[in-house]
């Protein structure tokens, strides 16, 4: 098992290295940091711009291979991922935003899976019953609402609730309030801020799990082995949970592991609506501001998340289906 993990991890690390370096070259070719300076007034000369960029390793007069070598050496030696064309360190930005996004993504993913799978179990065992039909309809409707609309709807509901409660307990913007100090107040404050974006992401995210898991479960629900389990004295619900669900969970586990990295950088709209400075926003920002180092670091972060997701997916499969032997 450990050997298998080590082998897998090595493979993924290699993949990350290749992907990240390739992204560096692509970004260097397609993103031009000079254009940011050209809009500045008074107008700078090209030489001035290049000189201004030089300390950040972005001087276009230098051959791209040299810049690459400099960038790589810094990462390998100091784990320094460079800085933006305006001199802001990438490390600090990503470190901060990864935590912000992590709060958002991990919680909402966990909730999506929990809600989606439980709803799937509940509806699959009542196939074509009224409960199933209502849940299906709700899910399909939610599935078709664009994220921005959903987020705004959540905001409106929150504001309405706040007004009726006569106090502000649901925060519609930002990841924390300024001026809060002390461990517990900060934690409480952050959690309150987390509620609305998490609700939004969960409402969008659970639908896929509900619908696919329901379909997967229906295949195993009437399986002979579920009937055998009932014959040994389990109730229908117990037999479905212990015998039917476990086998049907494997595809879901795999898909969860692979969607986590996607939401990390893909929750742009939610982040924007709720004013969270997360990874998704950063990714869009770095590209629009020609921030080569920032964009490459985000890509590397995404690759690392994918690798972690893939290894987790393997672990989940082994855990769920002991017949799978890793070697």
């Amino acid at each position: 098992m450990l050997r298998y993990l080590a082998r897998k991890t090595t493979g993924w690390l290699l993949m990350i290295v290749v992907a990240t370096n390739a992204t560096f070259f692509l970004a260097s070719w397609f993103l031009d940091p000079r254009s940011d300076y050209r809009t500045l007034r008074p107008v700078r000369t090209e030489a001035q711009i290049d000189t201004a960029l030089a300390p950040y390793g972005l001087d276009p007069r230098q051959p791209v291979v040299d810049r690459w070598w400099h960038w790589l050496a810094n990462i390998v030696l100091h784990f320094d991922w460079g800085s933006s064309p305006t001199g802001i360190a990438v490390n600090g930005e990503i470190g901060y935003r990864a935590v912000v996004s992590g709060e958002l993504v991990l919680l909402s993913t966990a909730l999506s899976v929990l809600v989606g799978v439980s709803l799937a179990v509940w509806t699959a065992s009542r196939q074509y019953g009224w409960g199933d039909r209502i849940a299906q309809t709700v899910s399909v409707v939610l599935f078709n609402i664009p994220t921005a609309v959903m987020a705004l709807a959540v905001v409106f509901v929150a504001i309405w609730l706040n007004q009726h409660a006569g106090m502000r307990f649901l925060y519609v913007a930002g990841e924390n309030s300024p001026g809060v100090t002390g461990f517990w107040p900060v934690l409480g404050d952050r959690l309150l801020h987390l509620i609305l974006p998490t609700v939004t992401l969960t409402l969008i995210g659970y639908v896929g799990y509900h619908l696919t898991q329901r379909a997967l479960l229906l295949d195993t629900l009437d399986a002979d082995f579920v009937r055998t389990a009932r014959a040994t004295g389990l109730t229908r619900a117990q037999a479905i949970r212990r015998h039917g669900l476990r086998a049907a969970l494997i595809p879901t586990a795999t898909s969860v592991a692979f969607t986590v990295p996607a939401i990390f950088t893909g929750a742009v709209i939610t982040e924007t609506v709720f004013g969270w400075d997360g990874m998704g926003q950063y990714f869009v920002e770095t590209i629009s501001k020609n921030d080569v180092h920032g964009a490459v670091a985000t890509a590397a972060f995404g690759a690392a998340m994918t690798a972690i997701g893939a290894v987790l997916a393997d672990l989940a499969t082994v855990f769920l289906d002991p017949r799978v032997r890793v070697s």
């Binding site: 009437d222 399986a223 002979d224 082995f225 579920v226 009937r227 055998t228 389990a229 009932r230 014959a231 040994t232 004295g233 389990l234 109730t235 229908r236 619900a237 117990q238 212990r242 015998h243 476990r246 086998a247 769920l320 289906d321 002991p322 017949r323």
Partner: protein, 744 residues
């Protein structure tokens, strides 16, 4: 529960086993039943209206006894079993009473029922391959089943699970408990299912077709295991099966179901000796037998079982019954006791029981289908080897000489390594003449179907020679020549529903092979109706789709389609195994009639030896890719020489309790290698229980690992069996009968 089987119960006058209409029997009347079913009614919703699968079934089950419920598909026997267990789908409607030790289970909620299931009633299912949760080890499955009802520690449950595996005859139970279901063969998995059912020592066991999915030699083993488990726990058994032979050998009492009702119930001996319900009698007359009992013609029951939606009044069997009188068609006869017999639902049961009315032949059988008209004569007796009566010894249509087909065994996901070779067919030789039937028999994995496919392929075989109508398939160069030869041999598939395109009407299905060879349209149309007549179907069938036909009719279409281009040789792959007994006999007789009429040669593959005995002139018994014995059917069946043939024949249950219980039975150990979990594969020296070892090439006799004779031999002969492949030896005095055994 009643009747004569040993040991006899308390000497009581025949207690009516089924009290009609409800009331539980008064106490003090012998042993109290553990399970009483009263007026059980089950219906399923369908688009055409509710399907009344079970319509008022009542029976009692006494402790330690076995009640067999027999019936054809759709008779409601499985629905009864699932109904008793409370495992019907939620959409089903269940009425009546299921009294387990006096407590009514009908109407209990799932939670309450779950405390009964597994603890008081255990169930054995039909298909062992899908009945076990694939992701749990069998030890885990068993200990879970124990811990549902008993307060056991994990370790104690595991220990008990090992004991249970030992009880059901799984070798090396302690280690095997860690294995997953897919690492077991079908028979071994069924043993695990039985262990699960008896884990909590239930008072009642329900077995729904427990051996139907298994080979006959494994079936014999599983029935033994069931007997052991029943003896160990003292449970009463409700044995549900379509196999009249299994019931004859096992049950104490038999209930016959037809169209959702019990139509006859009696002690096993009475029922088989003199069935009083015409349906039972006809069923017994329609089932082929394998042993040397009286050889009688098969009498098919004409028509089809009724649809259970909107059943018309009257006896549901009346339209197919030769004895039906007007009273039968107006009112459904209730089940009533017949003196010295049991209970029968037939207005004429008194006459039949008294022996004044023959339930089988009746006055006439005028409503028989045209194709069955030739049937009432006995199947052809092989007068001389190689020639069927009525036809001159024909030309050799098919000659197979030393045929070899191997498959590579590979391992590894990405880079496949060849770790061994499966000898699916290994040196098979036979020939087949016009007008003759050769039966290829053997268990699954013996290489029968591979042999057929090699012949149908019309290619140069991997090893050996195949000659079709005098042409060596290796010499076939042009596509035109191959097409020409295809006209001489045709195949009929096992599953007619799968083999016929559901989107084509029958007329199209029959016309297709004729269009393919470019016959003119007018001729085709005439030929289609000729073909329908030939297989005993009405011309109106031409416009129907396969889904609208019954199983027997579909198989007739399959045969007609094969006959369309007037082949000389018909290859039949399990032609009747998907059919019910009452329908199967009709198809068997049709095949015999067609052969006489058209001088066809048949190559039949079947696992059902009784069927083969009725249709084949000669048989070849295959085991692990080799023919171990061949010869004229009667010669082989009456005097089998190879130990495998003997075991195989003795394992087939005979539908007659006296003969079945009196027969000497050879229960083979183990299973045919090649099924999952039994490592090794056809033709590869089997190493049971040691997965992972690369199989060696076979050297000695293929049967040596399971051979009961081998163990009794001297050391010298034993070594020969292991190291030297036995050649075939003729049986003295019978030129055609040959077998391959060192010890014979």
């Amino acid at each position: 529960m009643t009747g004569t089987p040993p040991p006899p119960p308390a000497t009581l006058p025949h207690p009516s086993p089924t009290t009609p209409a409800g009331a539980p029997r008064p106490g003090g009347d012998g042993p109290r039943p553990v399970l009483s079913v009263r007026d059980l009614r089950i219906s399923f919703p369908s688009e055409a209206g509710p399907v009344e699968a079970v319509r008022g079934v009542s029976f009692d089950l006494l402790p330690g006894r076995t009640l067999g419920i027999v019936g054809e598909s759709g008779s409601g026997k499985s629905a009864t079993a699932t109904g008793v267990m409370g495992l019907l789908p939620p959409s089903a409607r269940l009425d009546g009473q299921v009294l387990l030790n006096g407590r009514d289970l009908v109407g209990l909620r799932d939670r309450e029922l779950s405390r009964v299931r597994g603890r008081k009633i255990g169930m054995v299912f039909q298909d062992p391959l899908s009945a076990l949760t694939p992701i749990f080890s069998v030890g885990r499955l068993l200990s879970d089943a124990l811990r549902v009802h008993q307060d056991l520690s994990r370790a104690a449950a595991r220990e008990r699970a090992v004991e249970l595996l030992d009880l059901v005859g799984i070798p090396d139970p302690r280690n095997r408990a860690r294995s997953f279901p897919h690492e077991f063969s079908g028979g071994m998995r069924q043993r695990v299912v039985i262990a699960l059912a008896v884990a909590n020592r239930p008072a009642v066991l329900v077995a729904d077709e427990p051996t139907t999915a298994l080979d006959v030699t494994v079936q014999a083993q599983i029935l033994e295991v069931l007997r052991t488990a029943q003896a160990e726990t003292g449970a009463a058994l409700l044995l549900i099966t379509h196999d009249l032979g299994v019931v004859a050998g096992y049950a104490d009492e038999v209930a016959v179901m037809y169209a959702g009702r019990i139509v006859e119930q009696a002690g096993v001996r009475e029922l088989y000796r003199r069935p009083a319900m015409p349906y039972t009698a006809r069923l017994l007359a329609a089932v082929p037998t394998v042993d040397a009992g009286e050889r009688r013609p098969l009498l098919p029951i004409g028509g089809e079982p009724p649809s259970l939606v909107d059943l018309p009044g009257g006896c549901p069997f009346a339209p197919r019954c030769a004895l039906a009188v007007d009273a039968c068609r107006t009112q459904e006869p209730p089940l009533r006791p017949i003196a010295g017999h049991g209970t029968v639902a037939c207005v004429r049961a008194d006459d039949i029981a008294a022996g004044t009315l023959d339930p089988v032949t009746g006055p006439t059988a005028a409503h028989e289908q045209p194709g069955d008209a030739v049937d009432i004569r006995p199947a052809p007796e092989p007068a001389a080897p190689g020639a069927a009566p009525g036809t001159a010894p024909g030309e050799v249509l098919l000659r197979v000489d030393n045929l070899v087909r191997t498959f590579p065994m590979t391992r590894g996901a990405l880079l496949k390594r060849r770790v061994g070779t499966v000898h699916a067919v290994n040196g098979v030789s036979f020939d087949l003449r016009a007008g003759e039937t050769l039966g290829l028999v053997g268990e699954s994995g013996s290489g029968k179907t591979t042999t057929l496919l090699e012949i149908m392929g019309l290619r140069r075989p991997e090893g050996g020679r195949i000659e079709v109508a005098g042409t060596d398939t290796a010499d076939l160069r042009s596509a035109a020549r191959i097409r020409e030869l295809r006209g001489t041999l045709r195949i009929v598939m096992q599953d007619p529903l799968g083999a016929l395109d559901p989107r084509l009407p029958v007329s199209q299905l029959l016309a297709e092979p004729l269009q393919a060879i470019g016959r003119p349209r007018k001729e085709i149309r005439a030929r289609v109706f000729e073909l329908l007549r030939l297989v005993g179907l009405d011309a109106s069938a031409a416009d129907r789709f396969p889904a609208a036909l019954s199983g027997g009719q579909r198989q007739r279409i399959g045969i007609a389609r094969a006959l369309a281009v007037e082949p000389k040789l018909l290859v039949l792959d399990e032609p009747v195994s998907a059919l019910d007994v009452s329908v199967q006999a009709g198809v068997i007789n049709l095949l015999a009639g067609l052969q006489r009429q058209l001088g066809l040669a048949y190559l039949i593959v079947a696992h059902d030896l009784a069927v083969v005995r009725y249709v084949a002139d000669r048989v070849a018994v295959m085991y692990l890719g080799r023919i171990v014995e061949s010869g004229a059917t009667e010669s082989v069946f009456a005097d089998p020489r190879h130990p495998y043939t003997r075991a195989l024949l003795s394992a087939v249950p005979v539908p007659d309790p006296e003969r079945q219980r009196g027969r000497e039975r050879i229960v083979l150990d183990g299973e045919l290698p090649g099924t999952p979990g039994v490592f090794g594969a056809p033709g590869v020296s089997a190493v049971p229980g040691s997965p992972g070892r690369a199989p060696a090439a076979p050297v000695g006799c293929v049967f040596v690992d399971r051979c009961p004779l081998h163990r009794t031999l001297g050391p010298e002969l034993r070594a020969r069996c292991r190291d030297e492949h036995p050649g075939t030896t003729p049986v003295p005095g019978r030129a055609d009968h040959r077998f391959a055994c060192h010890a014979g």
